[in-house]
Amino acid sequence: MIKKRIIPCLDVKDGRVVKGVNFVGLRDVGSPVELAKRYNAENADELVFLDISKTQDGHDLMLDVIRETAKELFIPLTIGGGIKSVNDIRQLLNAGADKVSINSAAINNPDLIREAADTFGSQCICVAIDVKYDEARGDYYVHTHGGSKSTDIKAFDWVKRTADLGAGELLITSMDHDGVKEGFDIKFLKEAVGLVDIPIIASGGAGNINHFVELFKETDISAGLAASIFHNQEVGINDLKETLDQEGIEVRLS
């Protein structure tokens, strides 16, 4: 049976990893390639690089990062951040990315999802959705620009629409849970999984191993993504996967 995936996410700015990375024994903690190797050795199933560069030069450096990483690592690589066009996607895929993750651009121009899926195939188009519960409006809404701008789009509607437009996968980040380390947003994720028949990656809220056990036991989510708890070695990916295995959840072991 298909394995539940564990995915570390690295924020990269101008070709360098920028925050929260605290690996012991790593010569260059800012090097995406070095960190990717480390995660590969720890048995990560896939890597996400989120490009938070503000300039075109910064985005161009990301292409070098992908090329170098793909030369040394033979596991799937997803790139997100600042993707605006089919041409941006083409450059990333040609450099060696396996999937791209589109966020704000898909909200501004939903047809980009369809155009990208038609051009490259749905399987390499992941749509990232940042959701936040709005007390006043009594529902979950989509946020953009790293979660900083709210929209009038209801999150569940957008989940369905992106799948209809041809997304091959969704990366759902619960803004209310992100950084709080008290567990994934099981309630939202459970409902989202029921709405679509494409795989969903859950993000936001993982603070310990049990949160991943809960995620995979309570929902049919395909993958769990986290950043700081892996970077700070609060949770080791090998330890996490061994526990999941003991709990009867299918994972890829080394």
């Binding site: 030369k71 799937p76 396996d98 490259f120 399987q123 795989p199």
Partner: protein, 192 residues
């Protein structure tokens, strides 16, 4: 020398990286005379079956590929595997017809694409119980040449081999060391 068929579809960078990793020389070409000088042909591909066949026909290389497969070992990867068969419902298009069987959308009661790491079941030792990375929405059906499958509610055909024609549905170039070993074995003649 490996000849990678260049028909401008999909991500071939990672196949090139894998070949470089194990010091295989390769060329990238869509010209029959170039590919005829190679020992083994790799047919890569991601994306849409119908669009891929249209591109192959526009380049005028369909007959060349069929001729090449008769004379050289050929390895189709991911969509490249599916193109080896007779027909796909994706775009309702005919394939190269080198292997018997057709391609249909996965209907397994689980999410589609079939995306992630899955375990191979095979009578062939280099394949059996290996975890490899899949990412596809369509699969081969009705093929007598399937030598490895992956369980996903149904048995997903993962590797086909008929003589010196090999199809690999997953991405060996993205499946870690296990995947590189499988690609190396395929290049050395396969799994039969």
């Amino acid at each position: 020398m490996i000849g990678i068929v260049d028909y401008s579809l999909g991500n071939i960078q990672n196949i090139k990286n894998a070949l470089e990793k194990f010091d295989e020389d390769y060329i990238l070409s869509s010209r029959k005379e170039d590919l005829m000088s190679c020992d083994t042909i790799i047919l890569p591909g991601v994306g849409h079956f119908g669009e891929a066949m249209k591109t192959i026909e526009r380049l005028g290389i369909k007959e060349d590929l069929i001729t090449l497969a008769r004379e050289k070992p050929m390895i189709g990867i991911c969509l490249g595997m599916q193109l080896l068969f007779e027909h796909s419902t994706e775009g309702d298009a005919g394939g190269l017809g080198l292997l018997r069987g057709t391609v249909e959308r996965i209907d397994a009661g689980h999410p589609v694409p079939h995306l992630g790491w899955n375990t191979l079941d095979s009578k062939s030792a280099p394949l059996d119980q290996k975890d490899v990375y899949f990412i596809h929405s369509f699969m081969v059906t009705g093929s007598p040449d399937i030598i490895a499958t992956a369980e996903y509610g149904i048995d997903i055909p993962a590797v086909a081999q008929h003589g010196s024609i090999i199809g690999i549905q997953f991405h060996p170039e993205k499946s870690g060391e296990a995947g590189l070993d499988i690609l190396r074995t395929a290049i050395k003649g396969g799994f039969l």
